[in-house]
């Protein structure tokens, strides 16, 4: 779903400075285009013109080469997922009814709607049995925002508009939901217009970043290009100093994974000691046949009494999920005072280990 904005301009009151000023931009199929800039620079206005919640003063918007001003706004919106910061869940409806909003407007059969609701709840990591019949007021902020995302995805629209979707959440929940969304996006490959005022979030979520200032487009580039070649002083200031630190948001743990040393919980302690000797990190992980992470074996656990690895292993706590960035991994390491983090995917499946050294190497490579 390709989106083209052509010379888009919005003037709310005649005589006022334009909220969006002659903006031209193209978003490719499957890309996440992040609109970023200071508050009031016209991000929300730009986004709302795409689904015609606001009509442009001038200029055109094409979705898949069709001029949106010629489309029926209701039909247009039913095909565009829409998520806002305040979420706007319907308080008088259950979670299931909330998610079913668009399918109901599209008159899907009941059975199909129910299946879709459960599928989406699972996708956003909420147990359908537990959550289906709850009310929005019973949910935490993070859970509500997941429902907001699930609701927007319900009829599987090819295009998503997201206006500061994680803006109201605390930093930990925000980073968690960002990672989760990145993982979902990897599977569903939507074309996304994502609004934020947080440059770190833009670098993390975007495949392309559009920097806006007073309604004008300042730079449109990939996160990498942006960090290595900021267009002007304004962009430099927006990015702030510390490019290496910014890069932590850009690189994902998957890119620098190391193969971990593993044993099975059934193995004997002697076998574990042998593996331990090969491990420079003095870290061995216990996984079962399906690579589910079961436990953590350190030299101190091997000194405990017991016969099998399963008897002495510790609970693995330094985990990040596979969509996480180096920044997430580093923050786990710093919080726990350890030089490694374990990367797990769906169903707690061990994917590898990230080490402090690997992070430093990655940043140096990236500088060049």
């Amino acid at each position: 779903m390709v989106i083209k904005l052509e010379n888009l301009t919005k003037i709310f009151q005649p005589g006022d400075a334009p909220a969006v000023d002659n903006l031209t931009l193209e978003v490719d199929e499957g890309d996440t285009c992040v609109l970023v800039g200071p508050s009031g620079c016209g991000k929300t206005t730009t986004m709302k013109m795409v689904n015609r919640l606001i009509e442009p003063t001038d200029g055109k918007i094409y979705v898949e080469n069709e001029d949106v001003s010629k489309k029926n706004p209701i039909q247009l919106r039913l095909n565009i997922g829409y998520v806002i910061q305040e979420i706007g869940l319907f308080p008088h409806m259950s979670i299931a009814e909330n998610i079913a909003t668009v399918p109901r407007e599209l008159r899907w059969p009941k059975q199909k709607i129910q299946e879709r609701v459960d599928e989406l709840l699972s996708m956003v990591g909420l147990d359908p049995e537990l959550f289906r019949n709850r009310r929005p007021s019973d949910l935490s902020g993070g859970q509500r925002q997941r429902i907001g995302v699930a609701r927007a995805l319900s009829a599987d629209p090819p295009l998503m508009l997201m206006d500061e979707p994680f803006g109201a959440l605390d930093p930990i929940t925000r980073s968690y939901l960002q990672n989760e969304f990145l993982r979902i996006q990897e599977k569903i490959k939507k074309t996304i217009i994502f609004v934020t005022h947080d440059i770190d979030e833009a670098i993390k979520m975007g495949t392309k970043i559009a920097i806006m200032r007073e309604g004008k487009l300042v730079q449109y580039a990939t996160p990498d290009e942006l960090l290595s070649a900021p267009a002007d002083e304004f962009v430099v200031n927006l990015i702030g100093g510390n490019y290496s630190i910014k890069r932590l948001h850009l690189i994902r743990v998957e890119e620098i994974l190391k193969e971990p040393f593993t044993v099975s919980p059934e193995d004997s302690l002697d076998e574990a000691k042998e593996v331990m000797e090969k491990s420079q990190l003095e870290l061995v992980l216990a996984v079962n046949g399906e690579k589910h992470l079961e436990g953590l074996v350190t030299p101190s656990s091997l000194r405990k009494e017991g016969e099998r690895v399963g008897d002495v292993m510790d609970t693995p706590d330094l985990t990040v999920d596979s969509g996480a960035t180096l920044n997430d991994a580093l923050s786990v390491m710093l919080t726990n005072g350890e030089g490694y983090a374990l990367v797990v995917g769906d169903e707690n499946r061990l994917q590898g280990v990230v080490t402090l050294n690997a992070i430093m190497e990655a940043l140096q490579d990236n500088e060049k």
Binding site: L53, Q75, I84, E86, I87, P91, H92, G148
Partner: protein, 234 residues
């Protein structure tokens, strides 16, 4: 208010006519009257209910519609609410008299007067109920592709319902009292007992009218209050 006036009036009459020492002046004649005329009282109670029910139904239909309309046309909202407010300040006898050219005397006139009095709480509560909905809820509904009619029926009215219900409750209780005055032009109901009682200086008759009107008001208020609480508050 009218109810209070008529009851206060009775107290004054009762006080001034100062019954003889030792002579029963309240309970005995009152219960004797109840027992003697229970069939007439029952009919009048039903008439009273009918008057209120018909008026409430019409007032809800008009009041909610007007409330919805002014929620779409902001500039006329307060002027319209002010008009309904002015209607409410007209003394009920005057209102009934003014409606005679349009509705004659009798039941219809009573209903029309009640409807006009009931408009304010219904229009105002429908309007505020809709206005108080979180803007994000309406924006997300619209942004996902619900038409304005669907937003109104599936989001706005259900969310405003508890506030509208509170308006209905006020309207009904208001109507029970004013309904008594409507008996003056022959609209029937328990008010007739009060007016006839005053005419004939028959205290048990006045008491019966006043007490039964109060009971209806209290019972309807309790029922509607219970219904209101059962509505989910978000």
């Amino acid at each position: 208010m009218e109810l209070l006036y008529s009851m206060g009036h009775y107290f004054m009459l009762a006080a001034s006519s100062n019954p003889q020492e030792g002579e029963p002046w309240f309970f005995e004649p009152f219960f004797a009257y109840l027992v003697r005329r229970w069939d007439r009282i029952l009919v009048m109670t039903l008439e009273h209910f009918e008057l209120i029910l018909v008026a409430t139904a019409i007032a809800i239909a008009i009041g909610v519609t007007v409330g919805v309309i002014i929620s779409y046309y902001e500039p006329i909202a307060y002027p319209v609410i002010n008009v309904t407010q002015v209607l409410m300040t007209i003394p009920s006898i005057a209102m009934i008299a003014m409606l005679i050219p349009l509705f004659g005397i009798g039941f219809n006139n009573g209903v029309a007067a009640l409807v006009l009095y009931m408009l304010l709480p219904l229009v105002r509560n429908t309007y505020t109920g809709i206005r108080e909905i979180e803007p994000a809820v309406l924006e997300s509904a619209k942004g996902m592709g619900m038409s304005e009619l669907r937003v109104l029926t599936k989001i706005k009215l259900p969310l405003a319902l508890p506030v509208i219900m509170a308006g209905i409750r006020v309207a009904v209780v208001l109507g029970v009292g004013i309904g008594a005055i409507a008996a003056y032009i022959g609209a029937g109901g328990l008010g007739s007992l009060i007016f006839n009682g005053i005419e004939r200086v028959n205290y048990p008759m006045i008491w019966t009218g006043a007490i039964f009107i109060s009971i209806i008001a209290i019972v309807l208020d309790l029922i509607l209050g219970w219904g209101e609480k059962r509505l989910y508050r978000y």
